[in-house]
């Protein structure tokens, strides 16, 4: 018999429905990943026991691990489904939605909280306008090399899912947003809003909620130096808090 792969997928038709598990057995193909497995299921939506079912709902787009869409729990670990090669996974492959974000359906969740956080910390460079104002500020290769890894954050939210402090009771902003604060505070023009960004990280849900579990840096699919960004930014927030205190 042809080699097969077995997937156990957690299904839930809507946010109020009861979750249930479905098992699928698919013909093995070379280079198969969790997304291509779900494409197979869509073309032939039948469970392992022969029951017809519906195609699985999930978010995906680029399938190159750069759009950040297809984050889910695979064998219990938050990661991108497109780069989860079936050959490297223990079977049956357990696939579940991220657990800390509102569920939409099956494996799709609502991660808009990150985009709201980015708004809160003003994660942008405040340019004067889009008209031609000549070349940008000089940036030396060493500075570019420090900024570049942080600019590769794909907003997948794996770091937030894995963080023990990211939950409703702390309201913690999470590592991804803090790394963006670090990125923009380093930029020669982005610096202009440094003060406001640091202030946004003070108080409830702010940077002090970080418990240094270091799970974030472990799960980050882009190897962003998240813990370093948090400790560097933490120091800056502290300095700012002192300044504000004595000025206030």
């Amino acid at each position: 018999m042809a080699k097969t792969v077995v997937l156990k997928i957690k299904r839930q038709v809507n946010p109020d429905a009861e979750p249930r598990w479905e098992e699928f057995e698919l013909t093995w193909k070379s280079g198969m990943n969790v997304i291509s497995a779900m494409m197979e299921i869509a073309a032939n939506p039948v469970t392992r026991s022969g029951q017809p079912t519906t195609p699985v709902a999930y978010d995906s787009n680029c399938l190159e691990e750069v759009c950040g869409s297809c984050a889910m729990l695979i064998n219990g670990k938050a990661r991108m489904a497109c780069s989860a090669l079936v050959d490297k996974l223990e079977q049956p492959v357990r696939v579940e939605p991220l657990s800390k974000f509102p569920l939409v359906r099956d494996l799709a969740v609502d991660r808009s909280v990150l985009f709201e956080n980015l708004k809160r910390v003003k994660a942008w460079v405040p340019v004067d306008g889009t008209y031609d104002l000549g070349s940008g500020p000089r940036v030396y290769p060493t500075e570019q090399e420090e900024a570049y890894p942080m600019s590769r954050c794909i907003s997948c939210c794996c770091c937030m899912e894995a963080c023990p402090q990211f939950n409703e009771s702390t309201g913690f902003v999470g590592a991804a947003t803090i790394a963006q604060v670090r990125l923009f505070n380093q930029h020669p023009t982005g610096k202009a809003l440094k003060h406001e960004r640091l202030q946004a990280l003070m108080g409830d849900g702010g940077i002090q909620e970080c418990g240094f579990a270091q799970n974030c840096v472990e799960v980050c699919p882009k190897d962003i130096p998240l813990t370093k960004a948090i400790s560097d930014t933490g120091r800056e927030v502290m300095k700012q808090a002192f300044k504000d205190f004595f000025r206030g």
Binding site: V13, C62, E64, G68, L85, A108, F115, G134, T189
Partner: protein, 617 residues
């Protein structure tokens, strides 16, 4: 001081607005949040307009993130005497003289300032030791003209624009409708676009949205070819819907197949041209059936066929040329690695430090998805469908033939002729958005009859039309699975309508497409629920893909010549006498198929000359 200044200016602005009797700023709908869409949004918001921004995915996840290698601009920072005119000449020549020259020239002239702007927005471009922008070489030019941010330039550019849009969003100038899909335009009885009809991809609710102008920036059509380098959302569904409503679709037959992609089960992952730009070499073993591991094959027994055939450009010939060369080596000479349709793309002679600094992102993708480390093992690659040069017909102001509807980015046809040069796509997206935004604003301000004054009948009937389509789909009780029809479509189009095109196959393809459309009417949606039903949304897209496929296949069948990416072995030469013209497809609703007309190409600046890459221009 600061405390008082801000509200005062705000108050002042408010007074000026009131005095100017500008009751409400123009409201523009932008569909699509990739580079072109976001570029348009920024220009509109900056000029005081309000934008409703629609996107299937959160805009930060748009397909532009996949662009790797860079963005072209003749900044001439390498002492090579590069000029915007040279950039223009390379682009027209690379596009085999099919692109309209006036807009291409304007784009090349705007490019250096666009790079400066992106730099000011904080894009982490690679730098020279002096802290200036670094530039690399790319296909189809002899100059270092491509600015880059590692090998994730598209991602960095999209983020920069996304951040500026978020800034406007927080000021209330932009309202985002993410997880909404464009279904159609609302067109009134004067044939004027008045807004759009869209579907909420969670509640599946269908709604109409009025606007003073609409800009479509919905990207590529890769899904039509099944597996491609494109993202999942790049189905061409929106363009096709508009085409079926009366917008012309131009040069649909020009499809770029990228020479170097990584074959995969779910998609063809791009291996950027920058791998060759930084010195990557393409080769195969010289001897047919050579089973040796690559390392044991001595240099003398490796065939660097691009370098041999094109000594001047070498591995950096344009994409269509490289793609055909690889096809020839694999299928005619049967020299693919291990007899498989694959050739080596070799970076192992370049030192690790340089590779990591300039190509890290893409080498990481290869390693992640294939499992080999390209620093030490040559990559195995093969051509894959990558880009559509064709798209919605627009005039030089990005306006479609339906009043009030504009288009920008890959979904329109204006900038790349018969073949796009590498690193010109990011540029054309941003430039197109920068033109479309202000043009749409201008139109909205000058339009005699505002959308507010349009009767609701046009909106009601469009919503009803779309709801009826939904009801019909949900109730369809046939036996066809949409995903299986899609697979057949992809295999059909890839086989017959990509690298080598024969008239007989093209005609058979169109007949087969008619069959697939017939089968579509017997579709059975396994999932009939009305909450976040992704297969339902996909099935709607599939219908539009099928309709647009016919434009591509029929356009290719008609054009009896070879030009850029369009290659017919039976008509191997470019034929300027008969075919130096733009193909325009119009949907004939009564016959349910395209009708074609042609229009002359603007060649006002550069007289067409033969395109050859085996020697300098």
């Amino acid at each position: 001081m600061r405390v008082f200044n801000y509200p005062l200016t705000k108050l002042l602005n408010y007074q000026i607005l009131r005095k100017g009797q500008m009751a409400a700023p123009p409201n523009i709908i932008v569909v699509g949040g990739g580079l072109a869409g976001l570029a348009a949004v920024i220009k509109i918001a900056e000029a005081g307009g309000h934008v409703d921004l629609f996107s299937i995915v959160p805009v930060k996840r748009s397909h532009s993130v996949c662009a790797q290698g860079g963005i072209n601009a003749a900044k001439n920072l390498k002492g090579e005497g590069d000029t915007t005119w040279q950039h223009f000449d390379d682009s027209i020549y690379g596009g085999d003289f099919l692109a309209n020259q006036t807009p291409v020239k304007a784009m090349c002239e705007a490019a250096p300032a666009i790079i400066d702007l992106l730099d000011r927005m904080g894009v982490t471009f690679n730098r020279t030791p002096e802290g200036l922008l670094d530039f690399r070489r790319f296909g189809g030019t002899l100059y270092h003209r491509t600015a880059f941010a590692g090998a994730t330039t598209g991602q960095q550019l999209l983020y920069a624009l996304d951040e500026q849009v978020r800034r406007y969003e927080s000021e209330g100038r932009v309202t985002k409708y993410e997880h909404w899909e464009f279904l159609s335009a609302v067109i009134d009885n004067t044939q004027t676009g008045r807004g759009i009809c869209a579907m909420d991809l969670r509640t599946m609710e269908v709604r109409t949205f009025p606007a003073d102008a609409v800009i479509l920036a919905t990207g590529g059509i890769g899904a039509i070819f099944g597996k491609s380098t494109n993202s999942v959302v790049c189905t061409g569904s929106a363009q096709s819907a508009l085409y079926q409503q009366g917008c012309c679709y131009a040069n649909g037959e020009f499809i770029q197949v990228h020479p170097t992609s990584i074959p995969g089960e779910d998609k063809l992952r791009l291996m950027s041209e920058s791998a060759r730009g930084e010195g990557g070499r393409v080769w195969v073993p010289k001897n047919k059936g050579d089973k040796r591991e690559w390392k044991s094959i001595p240099a003398a027994e490796r065939w660097y066929f691009l370098e041999e055939w094109y000594p001047k450009y070498g591995n950096l010939v344009p994409r269509d040329v490289a793609t055909r060369a690889i096809h020839k080596v694999v299928y005619e000479y049967e020299l693919g690695i291990d007899g498989q349709p694959m050739v080596y793309l070799d970076l192992t002679h370049i030192d690790r430090e340089t590779l990591d600094r300039k190509l890290e992102g893409i080498l990481e993708i290869y390693e992640k998805f294939v499992g080999d480390d390209p620093h030490v093992v040559p990559m195995k690659i093969f051509p894959g469908m990558h880009y559509t040069m064709g798209g919605l017909w627009i005039d030089f102001n990005q306006a479609t033939n339906i009043k009030g509807i504009y288009a920008a980015g890959e979904c329109e046809y204006n900038y790349h002729g018969a073949n796009r040069l590498g690193a010109n796509s990011l540029l054309s997206c941003i430039y197109g958005g920068f033109v479309a935004g202000p043009q749409a604003m201008q139109y909205a301000k000058n339009n005699a009859k505002s959308t507010a004054a349009v009767s609701s009948a046009a909106f009601d009937s469009e919503r009803k039309r779309q709801e009826d389509i939904n009801i019909k789909l949900i109730n369809s009780s046939g036996t066809e699975n949409p995903f299986r029809i899609w697979r057949e479509l992809g295999e059909l189009m890839t086989k017959n309508v990509t690298v080598l095109r024969y008239n007989k196959n093209l005609k058979d393809t169109d007949a087969k497409l008619v069959e697939l459309l017939e089968r579509f009417s017997h579709i059975n949606l396994g999932d009939k629920s009305m909450w976040a039903n992704t297969s339902f949304a996909f099935t709607r897209q599939l219908y539009n893909m099928l309709q647009l496929s016919r434009v591509i296949a029929q356009g290719a069948a008609m054009r009896d010549e070879s030009r850029g990416a369009h290659y017919k072995p039976d008509f191997p030469e470019r034929d300027d006498k008969n075919w130096l013209k733009t193909t325009k497809a119009k949907f004939a609703a009564d016959a349910d198929e395209p009708r074609f007309e042609f229009e002359p190409v603007d060649i006002s600046l550069l007289p067409p000359r033969p395109r050859r890459y085996d020697m300098a221009k």
